[in-house]
């Protein structure tokens, strides 16, 4: 197996595998193997607690097609993905560029925008629950203070606003992640390029579009790919903030999977949902992997 590889380049082959093996071994033992051994249950009616179960073939997958909550969860996931990818990525990029520039107190500012990401989700859920409280919360109080009483809402207490309310909290939480990755990526763009551009009379905005953005291209790929996947498997923030409610208004695939596996004694069905989440997310990652392997070839 190593021979043809070695013929292509001097490296690769066994050496490459030696580098890859430690991580791959751990990864297969503790992640791929448990994941695959659970996969089987998606073809059964296992309740998640008994010793026995029946094989139901693709029955669980067929049931998903008829489950109204799955449909609702899929739509919610899509909305969630668009909003919580676009906003934090754009904001994180802006923050990274600004906080890599001439602003004063950069370490402190970088700390502030990253801090929410460090908090345990229990506290995030309580804090935002308090802020959103219709009668006493800070958000409605602020709206009433500026005369926008009509906009004051029971944010988490009605189907129409609950998902949006969780997304605001998600943006607050997540902006630090792209910011950090972009900050790291900005370090590989040579300042000489900016100097040369300044000499040529290019404005800041032009520099951003013609130097910064192309220079960040590899980072864009990885930030967006990771953010999209993260948004597809969102679970704990929604679970902690709304518990999927009111009713099922904020159920996403991740929470619905959890409810089925652990609370409804429908582990087989819940596992099928997990499989679908994974398959969709992998499908989304195809362009990314293609882009990476293609660049490699060039």
């Amino acid at each position: 197996m190593g021979v043809p590889a070695r013929r292509k380049t001097r490296h690769g082959g066994l050496v490459a595998w030696a580098f890859a093996l430690p991580a791959l071994l751990v990864y297969f033992a503790f992640l791929v193997y448990p994941a695959l051994s659970s996969l089987w249950f998606s073809f059964t009616d296992w309740d998640g607690l008994s010793a026995g179960y029946n094989v139901v073939g693709l029955g669980n997958y067929a049931d998903m097609a008829a489950d109204p909550v799955v449909r609702q969860a899929a739509v919610n996931n899509l909305i969630w993905a668009v909003v919580t990818v676009v906003v934090p990525v754009v904001a994180g990029l802006a923050l990274a560029v600004v906080l890599n520039g001439t602003v004063r107190g950069k370490p402190f500012l970088r700390l502030i925008f990253y801090t929410p990401a460090v908090l345990p989700l229990v506290s995030v859920a309580s804090i935002w629950g308090w802020l959103y409280n219709p009668q006493y919360g800070a958000i409605n109080a602020a709206l009433r203070a500026v005369g926008l009483d009509s906009l004051a809402q029971p944010w988490l207490g009605q189907d129409s606003t609950a998902l949006g309310a969780t997304m605001v909290a998600a943006i607050w939480l997540r902006v630090g992640f792209p910011m950090l990755l972009y900050l790291a990526a900005l370090q590989s763009i040579s300042p000489d390029l900016y100097e040369a551009a300044t000499v040529d009379g290019a404005g800041k905005w032009q520099q951003f579009w013609h130097i910064t953005m192309p220079g960040l291209r590899p980072a864009h790929y990885v930030v967006i790919a990771l953010s999209v996947i993260d948004s597809f498997k969102v679970f704990d923030l929604i679970y902690a903030m709304t518990y999927g409610g009111p009713g099922t208004a904020t159920q996403v695939m991740g929470t619905w999977m959890y409810f089925n596996v652990f609370q409804y004694n429908q582990a087989g069905y819940g596992t099928a949902i997990a499989v679908v989440i994974t398959v969709v997310a992998i499908a989304v990652s195809i362009p990314y992997v293609r882009s990476q392997t293609k660049e490699h070839a060039v």
Binding site: A16, F19, L24, L186, S188, G270, A281, S285, Q292
Partner: protein, 292 residues
Amino acid sequence: MTTLLVPDTAVSAEQPVAKKRRGGIGATVVMTLVALLWISPLVLLVITAVRPLADFISHGPLSWPGTFTLDNFTDAWNIGNFATTYRNSLILLILKVPLGVFVSAMLAYALAKLRIRFGAAIMYTVFLGLTIPIYITIVPVFVMARSAGVTDSLIGLIGPYLAFGIPFEVLVLQSFIRQIPDEIIEAARIDGAGAWRIFLTVVLPLSAPALVTVFILDAVATWNEFLFALILLNSDAHKTIPVGLLNFQGQFSNNNTGLAAGILIAVVPILVAYTFLQRWIVGGLTAGASKG
């Protein structure tokens, strides 16, 4: 090749004189305001942490405290069993994070520069790990830990923690390592360096910002990991910080003030570490290392 030599950007950015500095002040004011707004929800957490529980229960979270106290912090230290959980979380972090980042960097290097066979297949497999909901793996992981006799032990957590950290770290690192120009690696090879030496002396130093970033993100994830720790650990002597934070809950009511104090106790070290480490992302270290 020069594009990769990364001098301290802070220094170079301040060279173009007066005009830029003025823009800096405007941006500073705007950024400070945005930052204040951003941090404002946390005021609730801090206020809750410094008021007596009775005051919290009798007035609610959104009131101004009648009295202030720091007792919550000493109480929280005991209730949260922090003397033990701190040590356990720290041990995990020290054992797991550097090791995880290192083996991930090795795999990332193999994917990005060593033209490993089945590279695309490996990438997809790695994505699998990012996408799989962690919940469906806990029973098999528990069974594995039990048959290895490492339930209720920190050692038992290291395997799963490594495995669930690897996908993210590999994807980020391989993206950065890919950007290292092949000429640099080629030059090192002509100097007689083997793959291992190139990895240690060229690839790792040149990826320092990415390594530090990944290190921070992984450290935070490890520090806050809840599910595996919850499932695998039982005795108080082995619990980690997130599991210890459950001690502030009761069946019918929560010790909210103690919890707020406990959360501050839990996150402050990681924020301090972050403040320290973030300097290494942006310049300084890289410049020196890439010259060497």
